[in-house]
Amino acid sequence: MSPLVEIRNLSKVYTRGRQRIEVLHHVDLDIPQGDFLALMGPSGSGKTTLLNLIGGLDSPTEGTLCVAGRRIDQLGQSELARWRASNVGFVFQFYNLLPMLSASRNVELPLLLTKLPAAKRRSHAAVALELVGLADRATHKPGELSGGQQQRVAIARAIVSDPTLLVCDEPTGDLDRQSAVEVLTLLQRLNRDHGKTVVMVTHDPKAAEYASHTLHLDKGTLVEAARAADAAAS
């Protein structure tokens, strides 16, 4: 079976004025369907850039990037937006909920891009909130929720349109330990019970333990998990 995400010779170069910064350097990576992958590495190693490329938020400078058999590196802005809407759910460190909307309305946002009628959109949002254990907070605005609850609303928003892939950028980076455990357990459940493929960037080795395996990035290059472990042991 072909992997869900196939990355070949992927490079990303940013240009700041005259400065050329190569953030990713010829990365090859396969992520199987149903995997829970943790990406670790020091700051500036390129893990968020890799995550953004996988999620279709940015385009590579070089190389190919296939998700579910589709070359997303060749898609234009509009096509990429449509592709993201139906294929990827995003979870960020700072939740990024719209502060003036209720939890339910926040979760409903991705469904506005579908042709679902309002009643269906609301019921789907309610199911997603139920799944993350926040059915009773549907009418609360983000400011009325704790950090952990806000992150769970963000996860509900990420899964409401039933995407195959969840990309999570430091989802526990702003949470206390207890909330972090709840969020990671939820991600693990979505991976195991609902078959979501999860790619998570984290600095936290304890968070990475919830993933089925971990890859390390260093200076824009993937380092084998085993080698990293060996290096850590020696």
Binding site: N52, Q77, R82, A85, N96, M100, L112, L113
Partner: protein, 387 residues
Amino acid sequence: MKYLHLVWSALFRRKTRTVFTIISVIAAFLLFGLLDSVRDAFVGAAHSAAGASRMITTSKESFVISLPTSLLMRIQAVPGVSAVTYANWFGGYYQQPKNQLIAESVANNFFDLYPEMKLSPGELHAFHATRAGAVAGASLARRFGWKVGDKIPIQATIFPQKGGSNTWTFDLVGIYHVTDPQLKGEEGALFFNWDYFDQAAAFGGGTAGWYIERVANPKLADGVARAIDAISANSDHETKTESEDAFQTSFASQFANIGLLVGSIMGCVFFTLILLTGNTMAQAVRERIPELAILKTIGFSNRSVLSLVLAESVLLLALGGAIGLAIAGVAVGGIRAKLGPQIPMLPVGKQTWLLGVTLMVLIGLLVGALPARRGMRLRIVDALSGR
């Protein structure tokens, strides 16, 4: 419509700022409604008499030049004229110069042509039978506490009596009412007998300030007006006959180029409004860059983001504009009822609303354009990382 809550919530994200901005939009469109109503009356009033059942004949040279009363019978004889009366401006004040009056001496049949001014048969009879009799509008009588039977001393500002006195004392024999709320302002005048004026005034007797004609068929009013003016053609008292509305309009037009004046004021008001709302929109979008980035992250296209910001901007203008125009509509009704035809104002009608809505949309699109472009062009990864 499914995005309305999104646009609405974005608009009221900073309630205080939005409310203050809307208040300024309301003020601008209230002013627009009021001034456009005046402009419509001045600029839009057709100078054709077609469709008018009541017409006014004045001197072609100037409103202040009187016409001979000998014209009465000749105008009466014009085919299509069903009744004629005449009046003379008197003016004056009551007790103090600040109490200026709309006072006119009028012919016996004056009230036949103004059926909207209701007098009881007894009062009308008393008016005809009392040499120094006068009738006052109900609101004027209320203002000065007059009642039937009172003697009303009026100080003349133009016409002294033959003995040199400026004080004209009238017997108040009736109080007329106007039931049509749109014409309520007509209750602010005082009328007395032209015959008394003609006999007692030191000068100005034997003339009429203007004639008022009722036409049998308003559709033929243009032709009737031409026929009336033809009577005095090439004489030393050539006339100009026009509909009553057009007369009011041209009378007020003597004071200024109202169209230009209103246009200039509105230009300044809307220019200021553009700066103000433009600043509000720019701030609103600048603050929401990460939120717009999130919308794009979850699949909103560049065009969707552009449309959302433009819709927000148009909604801001539409909310304030609609409230402002609605208030203007009520205010114009009130002003018309209070002041009547002395200040020409047309009700805030479809044309004003159409122009107003067009302005709301255009200004909304204009002030939203730059912020919307910024939102559309933002790079998700830069916006999310705060760059």
